[in-house]
């Protein structure tokens, strides 16, 4: 429960910072300055935007399917945010202790498709519907490689509990991370990361909301606060998948510094507060990579998107699953 509240607070702060960071990253990669006016170096820009957004009128067009239209953003956000319930924060603060934590996370996050479809359909707008259809097709397709790449970690660690996975990587810093302990997982991580990008509708997989063709896709008809919830859940999804990636592959809340001889760096840099710091820092690095990718790669075509998922990622992740099973068998014997 505490971890859940912690993540709620953190997510809200994170979104404010991330929007600013995203705009700055975009600007720097494109040799621009980005927001500079509100506050020193423009740090208050997001807050100004937020205030403006909250003041906006809650518009719903006459031809929309009223009730689904109104609750769709809430469904998307609650589906994404429910995923946080199983994430641990540090060694002492685990999420929900149910046995099938990771599985539940993947399952419940897949529910946001429902909200997106609802939003797109209820908007009664062809662009929204196109966006929703694309989004659903994309998320459902990429769930398979995502699930399979997560499964290869599950095979190696032998548990679905994220806190247990974190504990398994405890001990000696960087060399104990899953991705270093089991170098095979690098491939799994790449697949996980790519499908995670697709799951959270990030560029280069942002076809559902491609501004240039679909004027925003499924959230075309939304304005003000409801649009803000969509944005919040998109960033929430990014953060969720980044934290998940950090836990599964990069040691979770464990410090990266190893003990070198008598120098107990690992012990020095562990603890409740530092553990939380390490987990979030790793997640934020992954977020930065997502932003970096966003401003580097162009958007895929629909057919490229589908062939990437079905022809490349799914077979490779199946193969990785098999190889990881063999690896585990070899480790055990």
């Amino acid at each position: 429960m505490i971890s859940f509240l912690f993540y709620l607070a953190f997510l809200l702060l994170f979104v404010i910072a991330a929007v600013y960071a995203e705009r700055k990253t975009a600007a720097f990669i494109q040799s621009r300055l980005g927001p500079m006016e509100a506050g020193p170096k423009g740090v208050l820009q997001t807050i100004a935007d937020l205030l403006k957004m909250l003041q906006k009128e809650d518009i719903s067009a006459t031809a929309v399917d009223k009730f689904p239209f109104l609750i769709a953003p809430v469904i998307v956000f609650s589906a994404v945010f429910a995923g946080y319930s199983v994430l641990p924060v540090n060694a002492g603060l685990s999420g929900s202790t149910i046995e099938s934590g990771l599985f539940l996370l993947l399952a419940i996050v897949s529910l946001d498709v429902l909200g997106i479809l609802m939003a797109g359909w209820a908007s009664n707008n062809k662009y929204s519907l196109y966006g929703a259809m694309r989004s659903v097709a994309q998320i459902v397709s990429y769930e398979i490689p995502l699930g399979l790449s997560v499964l290869s970690v599950v095979i190696i660690t032998g548990t679905l509990d994220l806190q247990k996975i974190s504990f398994l990587q405890q001990g000696n810093g960087l060399p104990d991370w899953n991705i270093v302990q089991h170098p095979l997982l690098i491939f799994s991580f790449v697949i996980f990361f790519i499908s995670g990008l697709a799951e959270s509708n990030r560029t280069p997989f942002d076809l559902p909301e491609s501004e240039s063709e679909l004027i925003g896709g499924y959230h075309t008809e939304y304005s003000g606060f409801r649009w803000g919830i969509f944005m919040l859940s998109e960033y929430g999804m990014m953060l969720l998948l980044s934290i998940l990636g950090a836990i599964l592959f990069f040691g979770g809340w464990n410090s990266p510094l190893p003990n070198i001889g008598g120098l107990k760096l690992y012990e020095l840099t562990s603890g409740m507060v530092l553990g939380t710091f390490w987990l979030l820092a790793k997640a934020l690095v992954l977020i930065f990579v997502q932003m970096w990718l966003r401003w580097t790669l162009p958007r895929l075509r629909v057919d490229q998107l589908m062939s990437l998922s079905w022809k490349y990622l799914t077979p490779i992740s199946l193969l990785m699953l098999f190889i990881c099973a063999v690896w585990k068998w070899w480790l055990m014997s």
Binding site: P68, E99, S100, F103, A107, L111, V113, L129, V140, E143
Partner: protein, 164 residues
């Protein structure tokens, strides 16, 4: 606490079911089905069947409902009007379903289930996994095979329709 959660989930399920029964709008019915299924998943959690609950959410709410919604969108001409279908046989349907419900109620009331002792093991997922690969291996493989056949068959049928 558990009682409140029970009541909350029952209200969810009742709401979903009544929307499905009363509404003539297919899309609303599909969403209501999702609501009902999530509610049933909550019930599974309360029944200590965690894995089943997750499977329910992943496959039913995340998969089947989406499939149904896609079906609605592909089989209805989208011209801005709501997807409403008419319904007939209302009285016959009501009578038959009430009779069935009453029959079940009678059966439930008249049967003595005994003082059932709850004996679910704590490491359920492990137990189920082991059972899948030992005791129920044949069924497991068969179901995998059926799933594959269904996938190929569905893809073929859908392709047949798009050829024209």
């Amino acid at each position: 606490m558990i009682g409140i959660i029970h009541i909350f989930i029952s209200v969810l399920i009742l709401l979903g079911v009544s929307i499905i029964v009363l509404s003539n709008n297919i899309v609303h019915a599909a969403y209501a089905l999702a609501l009902t299924l999530v509610g049933v998943a909550g019930m599974y959690v309360l029944m200590n069947a965690e894995l089943l609950a997750v499977v329910q959410i992943l496959i039913y709410a995340g998969g089947v409902v989406i499939l149904l919604a896609f079906g609605v969108m592909l089989t209805n001409r989208l011209r801005g009007e709501k997807v409403v279908t008419d319904s007939g046989n209302k009285w016959i349907g009501a009578i038959i379903s009430i009779v069935i419900f009453l029959g079940f109620a009678y059966l439930i009331q008249s049967t003595d289930f005994g003082a059932g002792e709850i004996r679910t093991p704590s490491d359920q997922i492990q137990q189920i996994g082991i059972a899948f690969l030992t005791k129920h291996l044949l069924a497991f493989e068969l179901i995998a095979f059926i799933l594959l056949v269904a996938l190929v068959g569905a893809a073929y049928l859908a392709k047949m329709s798009s050829d024209e």
